[in-house]
Amino acid sequence: MARVFLEKVRKVFDNKVVAVDGLTLEVPDRGLVSLLGPSGCGKTTTMRIIAGLESPTSGRVYFDGQDVTEVPPEKRDVAMVFQFPVIYPGMSVYENIAFPLVARKMAKEEIKKRVEEVAEIFEITDLLSKRTYALDAGMKQKVVLARTFVRRPKVYLLDEPLTAVDPKTRMELRTILKRLQSDLGQTMIYVTHDQSESLTLADKIAVMNEGRLLQYGSPEEVYSNPNNTFVGYFVGNPGMNFINCSLAIENNVCILDAQDFRHFLPEISPSFAREIGQRSLIVGIRPENVEVSFTPRENWITSQCILSEPIGSRVVLHLKVGEKVIKAKVPRVEVEPGASIWFHLPIEFLKFFDGETQEAVKA
């Protein structure tokens, strides 16, 4: 149990590659925080800095207010799972799981008890006496997770633990992890590039890109109120629609002008439109919030369906208007390619971003 605080952490490799750039992040005690971002965004480096495997070029790392920046990993009392299962070859499954406890000179019976307990949780009891080389990646990662959860460190660090395992084991392990976290109530930091994993597991999500923290908040917050276009694009499946546009006022009614189409926004007050309308804007809306109709509706935008992608019980329609393509996620329907579809962008789901900085425009 510990509160982890990163203060202006910066990491530069070989004097040129900036992996983490001025990251300040507070992970609350007993919280499950997910670092979310595309490959190469600095999330793994951040984890390695927290674990002590990498020392920051500048900035400090605190555990419960104590500066641990210079403390080597073996003295930090953290447990870490790497993306690809790291098994100690030549040791049996039991010895692998017991390894961190042996380091702490725990009594043999106590080790045995703990290993058996954790093996039960991950359903690998029958593997304990086995050698490790014959195990597949999913099994190996189970052993690694068991080795991680066999002790109670200050912080659990999980670096994309489910990326290398097959989908079935992934679902199983996700459930186990979620349950473990709520049972143990331990601080946990979970790195992933899979936004759905982040949304289902985490209490708080830190979205990173190019070494910077873009947004830090609850899953709902990050999902419904993205700070900038990147967060909107990266969180959600598929990501937000973005439309370059400007706001115009005609007859005292606000109009969204996107070149290819115009959309009436009577709900927006002309004064707000005047205030932000001067600059170029990007309007964002989640595909699941786009309303569609298969019959003409007044003031709705006419489009052509060019593609329909089924995702589970829903389908994503690619709607073409002029040069623009808007995605709409709707309950499953059969749509002929080329069919005319009318859509509407409800004002309550529209997010405005600055066309230049890509940052959200606050109303």
Partner: protein, 271 residues
Amino acid sequence: MKKVDWKRFFGILGLVVYGIFVLFPIYWTINTSFKEVGDVYKVPPSFIPTKFTLEAYKFILQGTGRLALSNSLVVAIGATLIAVFLGTMASYAYSRYPFTGLTNEGAQFNLLTVRMFPPIAFLLPIFWLWKTLGLLDTHFALIVTYSAFNLPLAVWLLKGFMDSLPRSIEEASYVDGYSFWQTARRVVLPLIGSGLAATVALCWIFIWNEFIIAYLLGGTDVILYTAYLPALRRGMRIMWNQIAALSVLAIIPSVIILVLFRKYLIKIYLR
């Protein structure tokens, strides 16, 4: 009639011929070692001793031969251990840490150049070096020289094993609570065990069989068996039976090491 598997037939035939080619000199050495010296020079030579005698072994084991063999053991064990120990440390550094001012390949190549020249090219300055220090003809000088000549080999062989060991295994061990040295002992060493065994075996063979260094840097106070072999003659007569006996005795340690470590040696070639 059963069809003859010619491929298999010629394969086995080839192996038999090769086996004879390799084993005959060993057989002949053993054969010679049990003969009287007069028997050795007989024409045509006999394939088994006409009079079986342990004369040659007695001579070797009672005189300078025994001293030469024990000197060789001391020097070869000492030099092998030092070369493998330093080689392990150095290969870890080569494998894990970047060199400043020089690429890792460059640094490693520099080390390997030692083995690209024939030792004789270095030996005169080395001879004067030990002579100036007053250490010529000592176990110390021989051990240091042999370790130096075999260190590059040890580094080169072990670096391959170190490289194949993922960094993340060590990192997992640090996070699991083990310090650098504990990790080295409990995680790294067991995993490169086969590499260590193979390196020990190869260094041993090079040092044990070496002649020119033994002959130039030793020879009077500390005589190694390779330097003693050419001294086995009486007047104009070469004592082939004694040479053979000493050779048979000298093969024994190498055979033991190779038999013990052969499965690891194969790994070097299979890698």
